[in-house]
């Protein structure tokens, strides 16, 4: 579990001039945030871009963060908002002033990951992808993000019972999916 006082010490050290403190803070949380973004977007390039935005947002707010702020929850809430905004604005935001790009996006593992991913991780990814969006989100936030159901309920403004039900349903679906793979 994340120790909030450890984060508080790292923030204080960073604000006092220790640049290694931010690197340590980043190392504690970046992978979890990226896992959430990848799980929700299934696009590595976009997930990495949003990861940058999320941490840029943290850097700009560190000095004003209230004492005792849960940094992991703060980052995941920011990531969640980025995912929602991106989904809503994706079509409207494709404005390209005469520049030319040719690229191909692949759903799922990127080329560099495909060689590393184990068969089990790929089966788990497929089981996660088979979930509804809100079910997948609860699993990612609880398992990868290490957030409690209460924190998830507050972040998503969803009743606590609904969050718990979604989580249980998600696990049942994943078990069923894995059983049939």
């Amino acid at each position: 579990m994340i120790a909030e006082d450890d984060d508080a010490r790292l923030i204080a050290a960073y604000l006092a001039g220790d640049e290694r403190a931010f690197a340590a803070l980043y190392a504690r949380h970046a992978q979890a945030v990226l896992s959430y973004l990848l799980g929700m977007l299934a696009d590595r390039d976009v997930a990495e871009d949003l990861l940058q935005q999320v941490f840029i947002g943290l850097i700009s707010r560190l000095a004003g963060l209230a004492a005792g702020t849960n940094v992991r929850a703060f980052l995941l809430a920011s990531a969640r908002n980025s995912v929602i905004n991106r989904s809503r604005d994706e079509l409207a935001r494709r404005q390209f002033a005469g520049r030319y790009e040719l690229f191909v996006r692949q759903r799922g593992a990127s080329e560099s990951e495909a060689g590393e991913a184990t068969e089990r991780r790929m089966r788990l990814n497929r089981a996660l992808e088979a979930l509804r969006g809100d079910e997948r989100e609860v699993v990612l936030l609880h398992i990868q993000g290490e957030l409690t159901f209460q924190q998830i309920a507050e972040m998503s403004q969803t009743p606590l019972g609904t969050v718990a039900t979604r989580y249980r349903t998600a696990l049942e679906k994943m078990r069923e999916h894995l059983r049939h793979e």
Partner: protein
């Protein structure tokens, strides 16, 4: 496998680490931010806002980053191709003829000026000016390089397209046997047997052929052949454009399945009982805003509901 075992499995397989360039970019920004905040040797003080005299450093850094990004993007362009207007493919399995070669594209690939797009099923292109073009199955359309006063130029060789043109000063042009010019509207163009038929759903378009131009308004339809002036048609534009507007049908499907589809294709979330989720519904989803689709669906199910931002709570179930 019980819940604990599955949770252990999930925890054991962490996702990938961020790429090195992402990490370096973030840490570099943290170092810059720190340098701007705390001069060497200063007493540690928590600042609630960036000191005013540092905005120049931030502005210079941002300008340099923008220049660098623009240079990197320019360097990444494929050799031999001119910068041109683009369209993103939003459907599966679209084929283009590019430089004499057939290329099969997937969702979110790009088409560029010079490509001839062939769709063997319904396809959707998102133009880089914000317009959307839907192609009926069997349609062939060429993305031409736009002229100076144009933002998009499509040449419709055969088939049917449905266009939602974003509002912009420059023209959106479709050339076929006749030429269609718009600045922002919703309409369809059919090309068959050297005859162009235009149906306007919203806004205004200008249809020109044989040196004559016919303006069309909402609800009007016209036809033109090469060498003949365009003429008005007595046609029902809604009926003529129904092929493009009928998007997906749910027939005798569980309401829960329909709500899941809506949730997966939008940011809306629903709170509804399992009993109501199991109800069977019929729904044809047209090319319209999701909010409208939801209201149509819930009214048809005799559900009273409350909407708060993107959360929809069914307050009275049938």
């Amino acid at each position: 496998m019980n819940d604990s075992e599955l949770e252990d499995l999930l925890r054991a397989h962490e996702g990938p680490q961020p790429r090195a360039q992402t990490t370096e970019a973030i840490l570099a920004l943290a170092r810059q931010s720190q340098a701007a905040r705390v001069p060497a040797g200063a007493v540690p003080v928590v600042f609630s806002s960036t000191p005013r005299h540092n905005w120049r450093r931030w502005a210079a850094g941002l300008a340099a980053a923008c220049v660098l990004a623009a240079v990197l993007l320019w360097l990444q362009r494929p050799a031999g191709l001119e910068p041109a207007r683009l369209a993103a493919v939003l459907s599966e399995q679209v084929q283009v003829q590019r430089n004499g070669r057939a290329v099969r594209l997937k969702r979110e690939d790009w088409v560029v000026a010079g490509d001839e797009v062939l769709s063997d099923q319904l396809a959707l292109l998102q133009m880089n000016d914000g317009s959307q073009v839907k192609l009926a199955a069997g349609t062939r359309v060429v993305l031409e390089a736009p002229a100076e006063n144009q933002r998009v130029h499509l040449r419709l060789a055969a088939g049917r397209i449905f266009v939602r043109a974003a509002k912009a000063p420059a023209e959106f042009v479709i050339s076929a046997s006749a030429t269609v010019r718009v600045v922002g509207t919703t309409f369809g163009v059919d090309e068959a047997s050297a005859t162009t038929t235009v149906n306007v759903l919203e806004g205004r378009v200008a249809v020109s052929a044989d040196g004559l131009e016919l303006p069309l308004a909402r609800g009007q339809s016209a036809q033109a052949s090469a060498g003949e002036a365009p003429k008005l048609l007595a046609a029902d534009v809604n009926d003529a454009l129904r092929w493009a507007r009928e998007y997906i049908k749910f027939e005798r499907r569980a309401l829960g399945e329909v709500l899941d589809w809506i949730a997966d294709n939008s940011s809306y979330r629903f709170e509804v009982s399992e009993a109501t989720r199991a109800r069977k519904v019929n729904l044809t989803v047209l090319d319209e805003p999701m909010r409208q689709i939801i209201e149509t669906l819930l009214l048809a199910c005799s559900c009273d509901y409350r909407i708060q931002d993107d959360d929809i709570v069914i307050v009275r179930e049938p």
